[in-house]
């Protein structure tokens, strides 16, 4: 009996600890998932089949991310640094925002036309198009995590691409 209770306690404890664990996980390429155990963020992770030659997540993982399933149901923030298709595509971003009404998006202003091309509708009200200039930093309020976007260059030959960095604090 004691043994059975021990097994029960063990399995009851797993979801609890699993749910409380702060972590950072790699998705693919420059895509990451971070969570404090209760709420999470996706960083450059919603680009589905991406760009030829660059790594992509598995179809199963992409589906879970896009449909906000499993641990991705707790996503509060979808961040995109720039519009290259190995970092974002409108369709997977929109799929996630439609599946998860608690998520907000942050992306550079340049991404606005891409989201229009992807058919953005009322989800646009949950997207902040950030226009921080190169070398500058801002603080954003009203998000699940403390956030500061930075204006950082994508480098030579990519002057036509707006790139933003983000600093966020997760579980301290």
């Amino acid at each position: 009996m004691y043994f059975l209770r021990l097994i029960f306690s063990f399995f009851a404890f797993i979801p609890f600890t699993y749910g409380q664990e702060a972590k950072i996980c790699h998705i693919a390429n420059t895509g990451f998932y971070v969570s404090d155990g209760e709420k999470g963020a996706l960083l450059d992770a919603l680009y589905a089949d991406g760009m030829d030659g660059d790594p992509v997540a598995s179809a199963a993982l992409n589906e879970r991310i896009e449909t906000a399933s499993g641990e991705f149901s707790n996503i509060k923030l979808v961040f995109t640094s720039h519009v290259h298709e190995d970092h974002m595509k409108a369709k997977p971003v929109l799929r996630h925002l439609r599946a998860n009404l608690n998520a907000k998006g942050i992306m550079p202003k340049q991404a606005k036309i891409f989201m229009k091309a992807g058919g953005v509708g009322r989800e646009n009200g949950r997207i902040h198009y950030e226009g921080v200039k190169l070398g500058e930093v801002r603080e954003l309020e009203g998000y699940a995590f403390p956030l500061s976007p930075y204006g950082l260059s994508h480098g030579a030959c990519n002057e036509d691409i707006s790139n933003i960095d983000i600093k966020m604090t997760v579980a301290g």
Binding site: M51, E85, Q110, I113
Partner: protein
């Protein structure tokens, strides 16, 4: 021949050279018609009948008409192809990857509504038209291409005023085949206006797809919507299945 791909996507060829209209968007937008994986692969890889494509045209940047990756793949796999797109669409193509000699092969335009522009040194005689997609929508261009002596006009997602089309002088094009989004053909009166303005010999209604498009009209099935539209004018023909083709001879 003139073949349907999917949604507003078509392919025309004289047997030696081809043109793709609004066909390179791969998985496009959720809910809209898409070509099969095998057709998309052949188009993007410029294989089989699509190896002869010289022009890839996209009327505007919406994801059910073009995506950067699909357009870029075709240009990467077919050094002989050029893209004709809007200035706005060019902004999306930069995210899809790099193209060899992009500065000469990606030709972008901003044509004011009601105006036209004849292009020179093209594989086919080509004229572009500034045609409205509607207020607050992306810039949209129509294209008239003459293939084996037949003029095909694709108007993109046209939602235009009659006076703007008259101003653009579309009737002077002597159109043989007008590729027309279905919402412009919803009644006999609407089709009378279309025929008065374009004077096209044949109209191919297109861009059927999403089921909610039919529901907007109080019709539950796309098939019912199609049958209603096909009966709205004698010069409407069916070309609405993937790789269904008609002869241009």
């Amino acid at each position: 021949m003139l073949c349907h791909i999917a949604n507003a996507g078509y392919y025309a060829t004289d047997g030696e050279r081809g043109v793709l209209f609004d066909a390179l968007y791969c998985d496009g937008l959720d809910g809209f018609g898409q070509a099969s994986e095998i057709t998309n692969e052949k188009m993007e890889n410029a294989e089989d009948m699509f190896a002869n494509v010289k022009v890839i045209f996209a009327s505007h940047y919406h994801g059910d008409h073009m995506t950067g990756k699909a357009m870029v793949r075709d240009l990467q796999n077919n050094d002989n192809a050029i893209a004709i797109i809007t200035d706005e669409s060019k902004k999306l193509m930069i995210a899809g990857g790099s193209v060899k000699n992009a500065e000469t092969r990606i030709k972008s335009f901003k044509i004011p509504i009601g105006e036209n522009l004849e292009l020179e040194n093209m594989p086919f005689p080509i004229k572009l038209y500034g045609i409205s997609h509607g207020v607050g929508r992306p810039d949209n261009i129509g294209i008239a291409v003459t293939v084996v002596g037949r003029t095909i006009m694709h108007v993109g997602d046209m939602s235009a005023k009659k006076e703007d089309l008259i101003k653009a002088e579309v009737e002077k094009e002597n159109i043989d085949y007008l590729l027309l989004p279905f919402w412009n053909a919803m009644s006999k009166d609407a089709m009378t206006t279309i025929n008065d303005v374009f004077k096209a010999k044949v109209v191919v209604t297109m861009h059927f797809a999403p089921p909610f498009g039919a529901m907007w009209q109080g019709i539950l099935e796309n098939s019912e919507l199609k049958e209603r539209i096909y009966s709205n004018a004698d010069n409407i023909i069916k070309l609405d299945e993937e790789m269904m083709c008609i002869s241009l001879d």
